[in-house]
């Protein structure tokens, strides 16, 4: 790894990054760190200020706890395309509201043209699911098998969630604007959270179904569902194969997309486990095992719950603005002690750090500088130190007098 001196406005691309490609960390290596294109973003400087502001004293050295350097959106051509198509959206106070069909179609084509490989896979997965559920719905309606229709509905609901994930990926590439000053990256975390929540609901409903089957003990109505369960399983196995790099349970999230892709992977994984459970249940039933359905469904429910919980906790933590998981609190404490041990600093208070998305940490700090000392070296020192630690954005307020101004 090399160390690069960055200013906040240059878009240097780390040699480790490849555009739109998915990097495996060596054969047999640690696949826990699923890399993908680093699309963290930088701040847009407000249009009104002159562009000569830079912090030449900040350097980012490569350390083992370093977060990869923040760079500009690396697909600028795609950005311009998005901008042309939807320039008006940048001024809107909410991407959810005005989303026309034309935009949808054009963004689909844009993904096909220039998307990340994983994004394309997600699109394919959604199409596959939609096609499958439509076919199943038609067959169910025509032949009168209610189970097929209900299965088709379940699949459609899942498709809706996946589409939201896709929407999040596409929208999160928009540059920060006046009302979304941090950009749209959070949407991916939100999509992952929604996915995780939906999976938890599914767990709960499977548990209820297991209980229902246990009480009612009807074991004869599942036979015609075998074919549909098998095809469901196949479709979902394809999905799992697409996102195979995210099948680890305790994944380390390096950027926002990791969470999103992990949630998609869990979704298809949970679906396939459910189908497998149904197949297993009907096989056991044919063997004559009593309460097989309840057993299998219960097992599936517990498994999916265990799989989803880490993602749920991680996304929930990011949304709740918990202390960043990427930076250990001991490192932050060490920084704090280093700052306070300086001669010209008398107090440090209200240090707060939170993660916008995994990999992008924002913080704020208030210092009290001793009377008469110049604040500039302190400022640069503090900024540099936290930048090295991986805090991409830090606002430091320096107070001079003992009578403070801030009532935080």
């Amino acid at each position: 790894m090399d160390s690069a001196i960055l200013t906040q406005k240059q878009d240097l691309e780390s040699p480790r990054m490849l555009n739109g490609e998915f990097i495996f960390t060596g054969g047999g290596g640690d696949r826990r760190y699923a890399f993908s294109r680093q699309t963290s973003f930088r701040q847009s400087i407000e249009p009104h200020t002159p562009n000569d502001y830079s912090k030449p004293f900040l350097s980012r050295s490569a350390s083992s706890i370093d977060i990869p350097p923040a760079t500009v959106y690396s697909q600028d051509a795609a950005e311009n395309l998005w901008r042309e198509e939807a320039g008006f959206l940048a001024q809107e106070k909410g991407p959810v509201n005005k989303f026309s069909i034309l935009l949808v179609v054009s963004s689909v084509f844009r993904i096909l043209k220039s998307g990340n490989r994983l994004t394309k896979r997600l699109l394919m997965l959604i199409f596959l699911n939609v096609a499958y559920s439509t076919v199943e719905l038609l067959i169910g309606l025509l032949s009168g098998h209610i189970g097929l229709v209900s299965d088709a509905f379940h699949l459609t609901f899942g498709c809706g969630i996946l589409t939201f994930s896709l929407f999040a990926i596409v929208t999160s590439q928009k540059k920060p604007d006046r009302s979304y000053t941090y950009g749209y990256k959070r949407l991916e975390v939100l999509a992952a959270f929604t996915n995780a929540l939906f999976l938890l609901f599914m767990c709960f409903s499977l548990a209820v179904e297991a209980l229902h089957a246990f009480i009612q003990d009807e074991s004869e109505h599942k036979h015609y569902l075998i074919v549909s369960a098998v095809t469901n399983l196949l479709v979902n196995i394809v999905g799992v194969w697409f996102f195979r790099n995210y099948t680890r349970i305790n994944l380390v999230y390096r950027n926002a997309e990791d969470m999103n892709y992990h949630s998609v992977c869990l979704h298809v994984l949970a679906d396939s486990i459910r189908s497998a459970g149904l197949i297993l249940a009907s096989w056991l039933l044919s063997l004559g095992v009593r309460n097989a359905e309840a057993l299998c469904l219960g097992l599936v429910s517990v498994t999916v719950f265990m799989l989803v919980l880490p993602l749920f906790k991680a996304t929930g933590g990011t949304l709740l603005q918990m202390a960043p998981s990427g930076i250990p609190s001991s490192a932050l404490n060490k920084c704090y002690r280093q700052v306070i041990s300086r001669d010209d600093v008398s107090e440090v208070s209200l240090p707060r750090f939170w993660e916008l998305v995994p990999g992008y940490v924002v913080g704020s700090l208030t210092l009290q500088v001793k009377e008469g000392m110049d604040d500039r070296p302190v400022l640069q020192y503090v900024q540099g130190m936290y930048q090295d630690l991986g805090v991409q954005e830090l606002t430091v307020q320096t107070d001079y007098t003992v009578n403070s101004h801030s009532l935080h």
């Binding site: 701040q43 400087i45 407000e46 009104h48 200020t49 002159p50 502001y53 106070k93 909410g94 959810v96 309606l141 209610i146 229709v149 209900s150 509905f153 006046r178 009302s179 979304y180 000053t181 941090y182 749209y184 959070r186 949407l187 939100l190 959270f193 929604t194 929540l197 939906f198 609901f201 929930g316 949304l319 709740l320 603005q321 918990m322 202390a323 609190s329 704090y336 208070s349 240090p351 707060r352 750090f353 916008l356 208030t366 604040d375 500039r376 400022l379 954005e393 606002t395 430091v396 307020q397 320096t398 107070d399 001079y400 007098t401 009578n403 403070s404 101004h405 801030s406 009532l407 935080h408």
Partner: protein, 396 residues
């Protein structure tokens, strides 16, 4: 602005000159200080306690009614009543989430959660809205299943009774939850008013099929009713429009629960009418599906507003009531300020706003004084008190 005394410090008087305060307690020596909004602490506390009390009572009532319905359903061996009890269970779950969020938002901030736990109520509201969406989807699905199944007999009278019972329960809880927020007189009349409107708009549309399998044509999906939108849209619209804590803003969790319950009562009225119609003319079955679809769409429509607010908070966007551009121009108009950049204004939860920015000043200016001015300006004009300003000097 009122002056509260907090833990040992004085308040800055916001109108007029900005006098520095002697709040030594803010600069505690430990690493982390809590996100304590001293001005609003007591008011927040009061609001929290009263909201919690209301929700507690609502949960208890719900559980009691649910118990009654379960016992009655088992005795009468009617699936309709049992499924309605299951629906009340989902209500209880929603209330429980709100209650938990309310309770959790009072927890002390710690080193892992440096801003305190206020965000939990936003996440809780998100979860309960997702539940609403999920339930609406399930109800549509069930309606379609009922249509396809084509079995069972219609029991208009039972439907009517169960719906009436549900309506009474919901009205009680709506009054309970909504009652001290200044709209109460409006809401008292709300439900009756809606009854009439629904009567006019829907009496030919509400045929509900009722069969033993699913039993339940309550369509308790949280329909918030057209009347809501027509008449009192402006009451429901502002989720919390607070620039000052003084406004009687409804706590987001109580509001969620209240909307939940109000929608249920509307649905109950609709089902009562439908039940009466089925009792009278039992051949309109497809109306059930159409109604369910319509109501579900309405429900989703009314949740979209709240969802949008939640989304905006979670995406750390500038709150709607604050114009970031104007703030920036206002700051730049000050003499010593050269430029303002990296301005971020975001909300921890609805009503609690933070600001962070970098202000570049002329190299000869007195940074202390400029800091005072800037903070005072922001506090005065926009009422944001949690501010972090980084003063930078222009390089000459």
């Amino acid at each position: 602005m009122e002056v509260h005394s907090n833990e040992g410090g004085h308040m800055i008087e916001v109108c007029g000159d900005v006098t520095p305060s002697v709040s030594v307690s803010k600069f505690c020596g430990e690493v982390k200080c809590g996100f304590s909004d001293s001005k609003d602490n007591s008011k927040d506390e009061q609001e929290r306690v009263s909201s919690m009390r209301k929700l507690c009572i609502a949960v208890v009532l719900c559980v009691i009614f649910m118990g009654v319905e379960v016992v009655g359903g088992i005795k009468a061996n009617s699936l309709a009543i049992l499924t309605d009890a299951a629906h009340l269970l989902s209500d209880v779950a929603a209330f429980a989430i709100s209650l938990f969020s309310l309770w959790a938002s009072g927890w002390e901030a710690n080193s892992r959660q440096s801003y305190g736990f206020f965000r939990i109520e936003i996440l809780g509201a998100l979860v309960s809205i997702q539940m609403i969406w999920l339930l609406a989807g399930i109800l549509v699905y069930e309606a379609i299943m009922r249509l396809l199944h084509e079995t069972g007999e219609v029991e208009g009278f039972l439907m009517f009774l169960v719906a009436a019972f549900g309506l009474v329960v919901n009205i009680i809880m709506a009054v309970l939850l909504g009652h001290d927020h200044g709209h109460s007189h409006g809401h008292g009349g709300h439900d009756h008013g809606h009854g009439h409107e629904h009567g006019h708009q829907h009496d030919h549309e509400h045929g509900h099929e009722h069969n033993h399998e699913h039993g339940h044509s309550h369509n308790h999906g949280h329909g918030h009713g057209e009347g809501d939108d027509v008449d009192h849209h402006e009451h429901e619209q502002p989720l919390i429009k607070t620039t000052t804590a003084k406004k009687k803003a409804r706590n987001i969790n109580v509001q969620g629960a209240y909307l939940h319950v109000l929608g249920d009562s509307i649905q109950s009225i609709g089902v009562m009418i439908g039940g009466g119609l089925i009792w009278w003319k039992p051949e309109w079955k497809i109306i059930d599906l159409i109604c369910t679809l319509v109501f579900s769409v309405i429900v989703l429509g009314t949740t979209i507003n709240m969802l949008r607010n939640i989304l905006e908070v979670l995406m750390e966007s500038t709150p709607r009531e604050i114009d970031a551009g104007k703030l920036e121009t206002g700051l730049c108009e000050m003499d010593e300020v050269v430029a303002v950049h990296e301005l971020h204004i975001w909300a921890i939860t609805v009503g609690k706003v933070l600001l962070a920015c970098h202000v570049k000043i002329k190299s000869e200016a007195n940074a202390d004084m400029v800091l005072d001015k800037v903070i005072g300006y922001i506090r005065r004009e926009y009422n944001i008190s949690h501010v972090t300003i980084q003063i930078e000097r222009e390089e000459k």
